[in-house]
Symmetry: C2
Subunit: 142 residues, 2 copies
Amino acid sequence: MKATDSRYRECLYFSSNAFARKVEKLASSIWKKVDMSPSHAYLLMLVIDDPGIQPSTIVKQLLLTPSTITRLIEKLEEKKLLVRTTEGKLTNIYPTPKGKSLAPQLLACVQEFNEAYTTILGKEESSRMVNTINKLSDKLPD
Amino acid sequence: MKATDSRYRECLYFSSNAFARKVEKLASSIWKKVDMSPSHAYLLMLVIDDPGIQPSTIVKQLLLTPSTITRLIEKLEEKKLLVRTTEGKLTNIYPTPKGKSLAPQLLACVQEFNEAYTTILGKEESSRMVNTINKLSDKLPD
DNA sequence: CCTTATCATTTGTATATACAAACATAAAAT
DNA sequence: ATTTTATGTTTGTATATACAAATGATAAGG
């Protein structure tokens, strides 16, 4: 059934969740090429762009909680794509050569994903959508 | 950090996910009063409004997968809020008296949630948002 | 009728995410 | 200098959701 036909079509809870699930699915299908989920890929890109970045900074950039970030990092470390070095209470994350070598493919995925949804939704409309979502998102409480 | 400040602010993947998480959180805080997650509550309301409804119909209404629906139903059955009767390959779901008695509280939560976000986002803007999201959602592939 | 295809539901397992508590360290206050 | 508070990170555990395979049952084709 289409969202516009659901009994709960007017409820923001449903709309936003259903939409996010669809976007997630589209994104996942693209990042499967590098055998990674979109979150992992974005985190890795952040680390490649800013070697030594700390988890707390990643938390802010990705808008996820600290525990989630730890878990994402753990997985990427297992895959030998990045390493953690801890000094005192601070942790620094660096990409490994293997991780760094993925950079071009990661960028290609970003581009492919962006093209995929702008093609489907229209260039105008999707960028307006993203802006509106962000604006509203900022109004909602943490 | 605000969504509008994230490095990935222009990516629909981030925006839609972050937004959905916030909406989910707001919704959860309200439905905690009836000790239920929003999904469980909406499912229960569906069953109360249409006793004997089948899982496949719920799937279409809630835009979730069959396995997720089974899991939601299981939990509500554990809580004695609904019952399943299976005949042949079809299953019918009925609310228990206990489940039915929750109806007014469930409605109150719906209302409270709607008021919460329309207050925050503005009446106009939130209803436009919901419509746009649904429209775009329908364009994305299953 | 028997076999095969189709449909509805469930089960096993996996992913993404979060909350709350635990740690570990650094900074501030007395 | 010792205690308190604050900060950054990790761990234990829980929730929501999904995919793929299994199950159970009806329907269709030979």
